[in-house]
């Protein structure tokens, strides 16, 4: 399955991925209209210091502990893509407690959200990947753990 991978040797810490993610999931046509004056709730976040930076988003684990722990049965496996049914989520935050990557966070209205590989918006490929100016984020098929 294609997943998102981040190469920290290439990540330049510009955080464009966060904005591209927020824009892609806004459903709006223009980034300025979508994001101007707003706090953004991206599903990918950049961590690091002034030397090393890297973007973190859902790993779409083969054995997703968030899905197994969700008390509302809101997290589900859609052919390997781990998705969340926002209608079912009650905001108990158990997924935050168990995800070893810190990949889930609350969205604008307090409901949990996570990377769903842009399957639901019009990008065709994940917006973070498409917009990464240094090809640090890639969307590809990789084998077992490197």
């Amino acid at each position: 399955m294609k997943r998102i991978y981040v190469n920290e040797d290439r990540c330049i810490g510009c955080r464009l991925c966060e904005y591209n993610c927020a824009f892609a999931n806004s459903g709006m046509r223009d980034m300025a209209l979508a994001l101007k004056g707003k706090t953004i709730y991206p599903r990918i976040h950049v961590e690091g210091d002034d030397k090393i930076t890297f973007a973190v988003s859902c790993r779409h684990c083969t054995d997703p502990i968030c899905m197994k722990s969700c008390i509302a049965g809101a997290i589900y496996d859609d052919n390997g893509v781990i998705r969340i049914d926002k209608n079912k989520c009650v905001g108990c935050l158990t997924c935050i407690l168990v995800c070893p990557y810190g990949a889930l966070a609350k969205g604008e209205n307090g409901v949990m959200q996570k990377c769903e590989l842009c399957l639901n918006n019009s990008c065709g490929e994940p917006a973070c990947v498409k917009g990464c100016p240094n090809r640090a984020i890639v969307y590809e098929e990789r084998g077992e753990s490197l």
């Binding site: 040797d9 100016p133 240094n134 090809r135």
Partner: protein, 501 residues
């Protein structure tokens, strides 16, 4: 302020209706032009630090930014241009030599733009490069004077070592130190993939890049940095650098702050020491001395590598080239005065040397006149900007061209000409790890390969138009050129007729 004040050269224009205050511009500017004001929630800028490298403009996700030249004008006149006046102000403040980067921005004649290429009509057919085979391959090195046969009458095929280029373009010398590791990797990978060569410059060869040796020209310059036996044998050819087009007659100086980590190890000098390349090679005072070095290097590499001697285009270049052609060198590289540099004294860069077109024409003619043209191949550089410049250079007599500025542009350089600060926002002319990262060699090499591919197509089209299907057949074929707007003297040095003749 006051008498020291110089109004910023550029203005940052921010479209407030589009700016989303994502602060990407702020994070991307090593010059710290942009900053976020938490009180107002607005992005601000300190334009005095802007060098117009366009990094912020290129990364702004909402196209909210542009950089324009300030129209705050000094009272110029034809003699005292604003740049000239500002240089006086700067020197009056600093008391120092002015430093500049990249090629000279001064308005000097570009002869390439005054030369026009021929095309076939009716009497000899042009060739369609999409249908007919076209050969852009060239070999650099000494060529035999005449066909020789052995006692049984068989042709002697053994040649002195040659460089094989899939097109007559190579990446010229830029040292690891003046440019980044990732820039070097991009050049090395692109040269390998494109069937050409890149050049280490005077910085040695990083151990990671030995694998690209068959497409590497290793340089030996006056400071001898990074030169050892393994290094000499790692490359496909060795270049002795006598001079550089942007700064003929002077040496180089890479400040100690850039001699860090791998740069220091590769140059074989302690971290933090200034890398000073002397103006002359202290062992070369004559063509005979040069010959000694040429043969020392050939000896060290078992006569398997061609030796290039690189000189700057200066006044009596044809006599110099004639000497080099007799020194045992296989290739002469001539660097014209519009050539680039990571840092040079402004006065030298803008006032010393001669244009490459005139130097090339003069040298080619002189070597032909003396019957020694086949002793050497001629490579020219110093602002080759396009495939048509390459074709014109070949028609004027060059075997191949060196490009550097064009290659850097392909890597993302925006010609802001502030390489000497070491804060290249595009990750090219810097050693700061956070900035170096910005040049992804996957992307860099891909773009260089694209450039070479595009130029090769264009060269073929221009050749086809002339009815020539092999680049070798164009070399020195000055009948394929005509001059426009040139004086009799210029035309006679170039050896071309005026348009209409």
């Amino acid at each position: 302020m006051g008498v020291e004040f110089i109004y910023p050269e550029f203005e940052v224009i921010r479209n407030e209706s589009r700016c989303i205050a994502c602060r990407v511009c702020e994070r991307q500017c090593a010059n710290e032009v942009h900053y976020f004001c938490p009180e107002t929630g607005l992005m601000m800028s300190d334009e005095s630090k802007c060098v117009d490298c366009q990094r912020c403009v290129s990364l702004c996700p909402t196209r909210a930014l542009k950089i324009v030249k300030s129209d705050c004008s000094l009272r110029e006149n034809a003699n005292w241009k604003s740049d000239t006046i500002k240089e006086i102000y700067k020197q009056a403040s600093s008391g120092g030599v002015l430093l500049s980067s990249m090629g000279s921005p001064k308005e000097m004649p570009v002869y390439w733009d005054k030369l026009l290429i021929n095309a076939s009509q009716v009497t000899n057919p042009s060739i369609d490069p999409l249908r007919e085979p076209m050969e852009t391959k060239v070999f650099l090195g000494k060529k035999p004077e005449r066909i020789e046969r052995d006692e049984k009458g068989r042709i002697k095929c053994e040649l002195t070592p040659q460089l094989e280029l899939s097109l007559p373009v190579m990446f010229s010398a830029m040292s690891y130190g003046s440019i980044s590791y990732n820039a070097h990797e991009s050049l090395a990978r692109a040269a390998t993939a494109s069937g050409t060569y890149y050049n280490t410059g005077e910085g040695g060869l990083h151990k990671d890049f030995y694998c690209y040796g068959p497409h590497t020209i290793v340089q030996v310059a006056s400071g001898r940095f990074g030169v050892h036996e393994e290094y000499l044998n790692a490359g496909a050819a060795i270049e002795i650098k006598i001079g550089q087009g942007a700064k003929p007659g002077i040496g180089g100086h890479l400040p100690g702050t850039k001699i860090v980590g791998d740069v220091s190890a590769t140059r074989m000098i302690p971290e933090g020491t200034d890398a000073i390349s002397p103006a002359p090679h202290h062992d070369i005072y004559s063509i005979e001395d040069l010959r000694q070095l040429v043969y020392s290097l050939k000896e060290a590499t078992g006569y398997r590598k061609p030796v290039i001697v690189k000189v700057a285009a200066v006044h009596n270049i044809s006599a110099i080239a004639s000497g080099i052609a007799r020194s045992g060198a296989d290739i002469i590289a001539i660097d014209g005065f519009r050539g680039g540099t990571g840092a040079a004294p402004t006065r030298i860069r803008d006032n010393v040397g001669i244009p490459i077109e005139l130097a090339l024409a003069a040298v080619d003619q002189r070597l032909r006149d003396e019957g020694i043209r086949n002793n050497v191949s001629l490579v020219v550089g110093g602002s080759i900007r396009s495939a048509s410049d390459v074709v014109k250079a070949v028609a004027l007599g060059a075997d191949a061209c060196y490009i550097a500025t064009a290659a850097l542009l392909a890597l993302g350089c925006h010609l802001c000409r502030t390489c000497q600060t070491g804060k290249c926002n595009w990750g090219i002319a810097t050693q700061r790890p956070d900035l170096v990262k910005r040049l992804n060699p996957d992307i860099g090499s891909e773009r260089l390969i694209n450039l070479m591919t595009a130029w090769k197509h264009e060269i073929k089209e221009l050749m086809g138009g002339m009815g020539i299907n092999s680049i070798e057949a164009l070399r020195g074929n000055r009948l394929m050129l005509r001059g426009v707007g040139l004086t009799e003297k210029e035309l006679s040095i170039l050896g071309v007729a005026h348009a209409g003749e």
